[in-house]
Assembly symmetry: C2
Homo-oligomer: 547 residues x 2
C-alpha cells in the first residue's frame, strides 16, 4: 500500500525480517517473527480447512531431502536452471530473461536467443553500467553434501514430487476412486540468482500445494466451479474477461473444469484471508512461459507496490509426472478404470514341477526359486543347469473388466510468502490525515485475538486486567497482555500488528466489572461485561467491516 514501507514495519514490529541479522544476514533468507508466525499459521490453517472440507482431500507430510532419482524422473535434475549474466566490472549477477523483460520484450528461455538479444539490445549492467559477460546456466537445486554410504540428495525445489511418488498410498486410501486430491504445506528451496524484495523471491520459501488426480476420460472435480463471484481473466492471447469461474468454463475461456474450479477456490480463499480481490487477476501462460511439465497454466497475480506478482499457479501437469515416475522406477503407479467385460488371450508361464523333482530331487527348491526370480540358469553344486526346459509357455483366456491408465494431475500451488507479502501490501493502511499505521486483518488471521490493556499500571487495574487475560487464555483465545506506556501508544502498537480488539480495563471496571472493547479499523468502542468477553469476541460483531 502506498505510503507505508512494508519491510520497515515488518522489521520493527516482528512480522518478518532477514535471517541471521546479527551475522549480517543472507540474501533470500527471511524469518517470521512473533507477529508473522501467527499470521502464517492462521493462513495455513484456513487453507487446510478449506481444502479438507472438499471431502476427497487428504494430507501428505514428506521429507525435504529428496532422492536424486525422483528429480531425474521429474525433469528437475536436467531442466531446472536459470540463465544469468555477470557484469565484467562489478561482478553483479542478473537473470538474463529479466533484463530483457524489463526492456519490454518477452524473453524466450533459450541460451542462444538470450545471448543474441542481450547484445542486440546493448544491455549493460544495471548496477555500474559495465559490460555483461556471456549467458551462463545456474542449477536451481541445492545439493546436500553427504557422509559416505548415502546416495545423492537434493533439497526439494517443490513439495509436489513426494505426493506423486506415493500416489498409490493415496489411491488405496481413497478406495481406488478418482478424483481425489492430496495437499501438503512446507518448504521449498531454490538457489536463486537474484533473490530480492524480501518475501518476493526467496531461496527457502513456504508452499501450500494441492495435487488433484483425474481419469483423463473424466477430468472433473467433485464440485461445480463457483458461479457467485466474478474473476478477472487474461488469456494467453491477451484477451480479458470478467466472468464467474463457471461462466468461464461454459464459454470455453477456461478449457479445464478443475482449473476453473480451483480459480474459484483461490478467489474465495484470498477474500477470506483479507486480500483485496479487486487487485487479483488470473493470467494464462503463453506457450513459451509454460514449465517443462505443464500443458496449461493459469497464474493468480496480485497487484502490489512492486507490480503484478504471481501468488498462485494452477497448472495442468497432464500425465507428465506420474508417467515419468512409472518409466524411471519401473513401478506400478497406474489407476484403473472399469471397462466392459471382454476376453483376452494372455501368455502364462507354467513351471513343470514334476520334471524338476524327478531330475533333481535334492535341488528342486533352488531351481524353482531361480525360475521364479527370472534366472536362465543356476549352479547347483558345481553343476550348471539351464532352466528353459522346465518352463512351458501356455496361452490362456482371461476375462478383463479393468484397464490401467496414468492419472492426470491438476495442481493449484500457493506461494505462502508472496500471499503474506500481498496481504500486508493490501492492508497496511494509514489513518486519514495522520501517519498512524494500522493493519486491517480479518479476525481469524490476526496474530492475536485481543490485547488486554490496563489503563494505568496501578490502583489494582493490573490485577483485574491479568484476570481478564487469564480467562481469555483459558477459553482458547490467543491474547496478549501489556501495561507499558500510555494507552494511546499501546493502541497504536496493536493496531500496527493487526490485533482486531483492544480490551481496556479502567476505573469503571473496578466499580461495575465492564471493560472497553475497541475495534482496530473503525476505532469504535463499546462497553461489555468482562464475564461476557469471550462470547463477544467469538461473535466478532465487526467482522468484515473495513474502516
Amino acid at each position: 500500500m502506498k505510503g507505508v514501507d512494508q519491510e520497515e514495519v515488518s522489521r520493527r514490529r516482528g512480522i518478518y525480517f532477514q535471517s541471521f541479522g546479527i551475522y549480517g544476514g543472507l540474501a533470500g533468507l527471511y524469518d517470521y517473527g512473533p507477529v508473522g508466525s501467527r499470521i502464517k499459521d492462521n493462513i495455513t490453517r484456513i487453507w487446510k480447512e478449506m481444502m479438507l472440507s472438499e471431502g476427497v482431500v487428504a494430507e501428505f507430510d514428506g521429507t525435504s531431502l529428496t532422492h536424486e532419482d525422483v528429480l531425474k524422473a521429474s525433469g528437475h535434475y536436467d531442466r531446472f536452471f536459470d540463465f544469468f549474466v555477470e557484469c565484467k566490472n562489478c561482478h553483479t549477477r542478473f537473470r538474463a530473461d529479466e533484463l530483457i523483460e524489463k526492456k519490454g520484450v518477452s524473453p524466450v528461455l533459450d541460451k542462444g536467443w538470450l545471448e543474441s538479444k542481450i547484445r542486440e539490445m546493448n544491455i549493460v549492467c544495471e548496477n555500474c553500467g559495465g559490460d555483461l559477460g556471456e549467458v551462463k546456466v545456474q542449477k536451481l537445486m541445492f545439493q546436500v553434501e553427504l557422509g559416505d554410504g548415502i546416495s545423492n540428495l537434493f533439497l526439494r525445489p517443490e513439495t509436489a514430487q513426494g505426493i506423486f511418488i506415493n500416489f498409490k498410498e493415496y489411491y488405496r486410501f481413497f478406495r481406488e476412486k478418482l478424483p481425489f486430491a492430496v495437499i501438503t504445506t512446507g518448504k521449498g528451496y531454490r538457489n536463486e540468482i537474484s533473490p530480492r524484495r524480501s518475501l518476493y523471491r526467496l531461496r527457502e520459501f513456504n508452499m501450500m500445494e494441492c495435487e488433484s488426480f483425474f481419469d483423463p476420460e473424466d477430468e472433473r472435480w467433485v464440485r461445480e466451479p463457483d458461479n457467485s463471484v466474478k474473476v478477472h481473466l487474461v488469456t494467453k492471447n491477451g484477451e480479458e474477461f470478467h466472468v464467474t469461474p463457471l461462466e468461464a468454463l461454459k464459454k470455453g475461456i477456461i478449457k479445464s473444469q478443475p482449473i476453473s474450479y480451483f480459480i474459484g477456490f483461490a478467489i474465495k480463499f484470498y477474500a477470506r484471508i483479507g486480500i483485496d480481490t479487486g487487485k487479483v487477476r488470473f493470467r494464462q501462460h503463453r506457450k513459451e512461459e509454460l514449465s517443462h511439465y505443464s500443458n496449461d497454466t493459469w497464474d493468480a497475480e496480485a497487484l502490489t507496490d512492486i507490480g503484478w506478482i504471481e501468488i498462485t499457479g494452477i497448472a495442468h501437469r497432464g500425465t507428465y509426472d506420474i508417467g515419468n515416475h512409472i518409466k524411471y522406477s519401473g513401478k506400478d503407479l497406474y489407476a484403473q478404470r472399469i471397462v466392459p467385460r471382454r476376453e483376452e488371450i494372455r501368455e502364462k508361464m507354467e513351471i513343470d514341477f514334476d520334471l524338476i523333482k524327478n531330475e533333481y530331487p535334492e535341488g528342486s527348491r533352488e531351481i524353482i526359486e531361480a525360475i521364479r526370480a527370472g534366472k536362465e540358469s543356476i549352479d547347483l553344486k558345481g553343476d550348471k543347469i539351464s532352466l528353459a526346459r522346465f518352463v512351458k509357455r501356455v496361452k490362456e483366456k482371461v476375462v478383463v473388466d479393468r484397464e490401467n491408465f496414468v492419472p492426470v494431475v491438476i495442481e493449484p500451488s500457493f506461494g505462502l510468502d508472496r500471499i503474506i507479502y500481498t496481504l500486508l501490501d493490501h492492508n497496511l493502511a494509514q489513518r486519514e490525515g495522520s501517519g498512524y499505521i494500522y493493519l486491517r486483518l480479518p479476525y481469524e488471521v490476526s496474530p492475536y485475538g485481543a490485547a488486554v490493556l490496563p489503563l494505568m499500571a496501578k490502583d489494582g487495574l493490573q490485577e483485574f486486567a491479568r484476570k481478564v487475560f487469564s480467562s481469555l487464555l483459558s477459553d482458547g483465545i490467543t491474547a496478549i497482555y501489556d501495561d507499558s506506556g500510555s494507552i494511546g501508544k499501546r493502541y497504536s502498537r496493536y493496531d500496527e500488528i493487526g490485533v482486531t480488539y483492544c480490551i481496556t480495563v479502567d476505573y469503571d471496571t473496578l466499580k461495575d466489572g465492564t471493560v472497553t472493547i475497541r475495534h482496530r479499523d473503525s476505532m469504535e468502542q463499546i462497553r461489555v461485561d468482562s464475564g461476557r468477553l469471550t462470547e463477544y469476541l467469538r461473535e466478532n460483531p465487526w467482522n468484515g467491516k473495513k474502516s
Copy 2:
C-alpha cells in the same frame, strides 16, 4: 504395544512409510501419509495451543538453511559429531558408544576411551562378526552445496538457534520483560551414522522447541509447577521418586523451578494427546551425558517395544548460547534489569564544532561525519586531515539505573516423530480374543472426526449418507465418506486408523432420519437424529473412555 507390528500397520494404513519407496527408499527418511499427517497436525496444534495459552509465549518460524557463523558460535560446527566404527569385513557402520552401551557399560564420549573400550571388551561386528576398524568421527550436520556468491550453509541440527540470534526481536515484543518463551516447530537434520527403527532415529526429523528466557537472578516461570499429577523421576544418582513437579522442586529433587514447571507441562501434554503416562519417566542426565551447552538436563523417556526412548529433553542451557552469540557477532543480545540508582563516571567524546567550522568552513560536514563514523583521518580535496585534534575526551557523571545481563535459557524440546511412535505404541491395541486391531486416539488427535458409511451402496442410502457427509464438512468436522465393501470391513478400517466415530446410514434412516453412531473403543452404538450429529460429535460423550 505387544502383538501389533506398528511399522506394518503404519505402512498399510498410510500412517507413515519410508520416503521414496518406489526408488528403494533411503535410510532415516520417512513420510507421513494421509492418516499420519492428520495426527501430526493435531498434536502440533494442541502443543502450540497449550504453549501459547501460557500467555508470555510467542512463535518463531525461521529458515532451516543456516549461516555457518551461527553454528560456529553455537558450538555445533566444532563439536557436533558422532563416533563410529566400521566393520573391516562387511563395512557396516555402528556408533561406537552404542556398541558399548549394549554391553551394559555407560559410554564416555571420548575417542580414546571408546577405542580402548572396544578392544578391551572384544566387541565385533553385530552383522557378520568381523573385526571392527578404528573409532572415527562423523560430522552430524548436512552441508549444502552452493552456487557462487553465497556463504557456507548448513541444514539446522536443531531449531533453537534461530530463536537465540533473534532474542532482541522478542525481548522488544515482550516490552523488555522476562521471563518469556519463544516456540517453534519444524524440521531438524542430522546425518546419523545408523538411522533405525523407522521414526526412532531419523535424518530429517520434526521438532517442537520452546526456548524460555530468564534473569539468572530470578529463574522462575510465570506459573507454579503442577501439584496435581505425580511423575516418575530418576535422578543422575539413580534415585527414583514418584512425586508431583511442585513437590520435586520443594524437596530439592529438581533444582530449577522452570524445569519442574515444564516437566508438569510435558506430562499434561502427553496425557492430553493419549500417551500412557504410566509409561513415562523423567531421567536426569549424568554429567558425562550432558550436551556441550547444558548444565542440567531431564529427559522424558517413554517405554515402548524398543525399550525406554527419549521423547523430550528439558535442558538448562544457562547463558551458553546467547553468551556465545554476543561474543561471536559482537552484537548486543543483552537483557537489562533495574538496579538501585547510582552515579558512574563515564568517558564521553566531544566534537569541537567551532574549531572545525573555523578551519574548514566548506568541508565541515564531511569532517563531522567522518568523526562520527570513527575514522581517524579523511581526504578533503586532496588534503589529508588528521581528525584527532577536533575531538576532546571528557569525563562525565551519569546516573545508572539499569544493567546488562545475559539471559539464561531453559529449553523443553519435544521430538515429534518419537512422540508419534510412542503414541502408536501405546495405543495400537487388539480386541480381546481376536486379531482385530484398533487405534485408541483421543477425539482431538484422531485423523478424522468421523467416517460416514451407508450400510449398502444402493436404495438411496448413498445419497442420504452423502448429505450427512457434506453437512459435517460444512460444519468444520473433518470427515471421510466410504461406501466400498461390507460394513464390518469398513468399521475395521476406520478403527485401525483411529477414527473415533463411525456413522452408519441404514434403512431406518430413510424412515426417521436417525443414524447410528458407533464408538471405536467401546463399540457401543447409539441412535441419533442426523440433524443433531455435529452437536453430538462436539460434545463427544465418550471422551476419555478407554475400552
